[in-house]
């Protein structure tokens, strides 16, 4: 079989922010571009484009990954969560509330990625210590806060989430 005979574009199905999604994907498309340019989910930020800064972090099956390094074909059959899917409609997730309250959102460019990295941590550990928080956020660069407020925000979010029973929200 020659390459010209192989169909190159593929229709993939995946779960995006809790909803089954179908889309035609070209073989060279990266997930970040599909999310931002085609699905208009611009909450996921494009920073370095090399997997260094973490601004493009999304959750793939609950785990943080860099969407700028991810060929979109890789998400076929998987579950993707972007910042837009964290809380329903205009509501805020406790992690988002905590980031606002702790002053962890300054220019805001790193916030969607940092919040999703924090979500992956808090889904696994209810009371992470500071070392665990730092480790979980080590792939998210912030040039405003010096990280102090971000770490405080994750601690605050853990308190909030432990204080209230989890509401029903999209996975």
């Amino acid at each position: 079989m020659s390459m010209s005979q192989i169909p190159t574009r593929k229709k993939i199905e995946f779960i995006l922010n809790g909803r089954p999604t179908r889309i035609d994907i070209e073989p060279d498309e990266l997930l970040i571009d599909v999310l931002r340019d085609r699905l208009l989910l611009t909450g996921t930020k494009k920073g370095c484009g090399e997997g260094e800064c973490g601004a493009c972090t999304i959750l793939l099956n609950g785990k943080p990954v860099n969407s700028c390094l991810l060929p979109a074909m890789k998400v076929a059959g998987q579950a993707v969560l972007t910042i837009e899917g964290l809380a329903p409609d205009e509501a805020l997730d406790p992690i988002q509330e905590s980031f606002l309250e702790a002053g962890a959102v300054q220019c805001g460019f790193c916030s969607p990625g940092a919040i999703l990295a924090a979500k992956a941590l808090l889904d696994e550990q209810k009371n992470p210590d500071e070392a665990a928080i730092k480790s979980a956020l080590s792939g998210n660069i912030c040039r405003c806060t010096g990280y102090v407020q971000i770490i405080e925000a994750v601690k605050l979010a853990a308190e909030k989430m432990n204080a209230q029973p989890p509401a029903s929200k999209p996975s």
Partner: protein
Amino acid sequence: MSIAYYATPKTVAEALGALAELDGRGMIIAGGTDLVPLIKQNRVDAKALIDISGVVEIRGLAFEPEALTIGAAATHHQVCSEPRIREIWPALADACASIGSPQIRNIATLTGNVVNAQPAADAAIALVALGARMEFMAAGELKTELIEKLYAGLGRSKIDPRKEMVTAIKVPRPGGRHGNAYGRISPRNSFCMPIVNAAAALDCEGDRIVSARLAMGPVAETPFRPQRAEAELQNVELRNTRALEAAAVLASQEANPRSSCLRGCADYRKELSRVLVKRVLEKAAAMAGRESIQT
């Protein structure tokens, strides 16, 4: 990027079929955390990719009597979060935990870490010290080779991802008293390339070392084994810190790091490699010592 074709096989047979059909024009991709930036920068020409990350048979870890099998598509996160690996092969768990960021470790594979052939690759350094082998399909035949023998030079693996496909990494299970350890020195604690890294594996009888394997990086074009230091460690008593230190001095003399704007000058890195090899030897000796108390 200029990728014209992207295959997502579900079985090893399908992946090998695609590789054969594309006849040298296809390339295996696993996590892609190194390959995708290289393709973006036009430093690797790959028109067709065969993604093995969805091949279920090679995604897991298997604990067999003789060895740990790490599937070719298993990630660093899988390895460093597995308690049995942390217990038996802490060198491997620590090495995998020190690579990149959580985002990278969730996608990047140990196989990619080896085939990418960088001398600083943390997992590869631990695997070389542990005497791990790689299994791969080449021209219809399943081959197996020590990982340290799969390096052709800086950034060049003997595994050709356009023709060959890795299926597993096999880490031998230590027989008797044994200790292993990994360490690195880097400008910051996380998400940073090492100035130097090193791993040690010590097989012992009683409190004496009968066989030592050391691996160091990046102090040569490929992961480096200081063989004079290894020989010097034979018959050394585990608690003989002077002898361990003497071996570390030898290892640093054998190492040949480059002066680097990113990593510091050669003399500095040689000195750091002495300090680091001493640390990992003491840690591995302590583990072997604990084992001997238990048995």
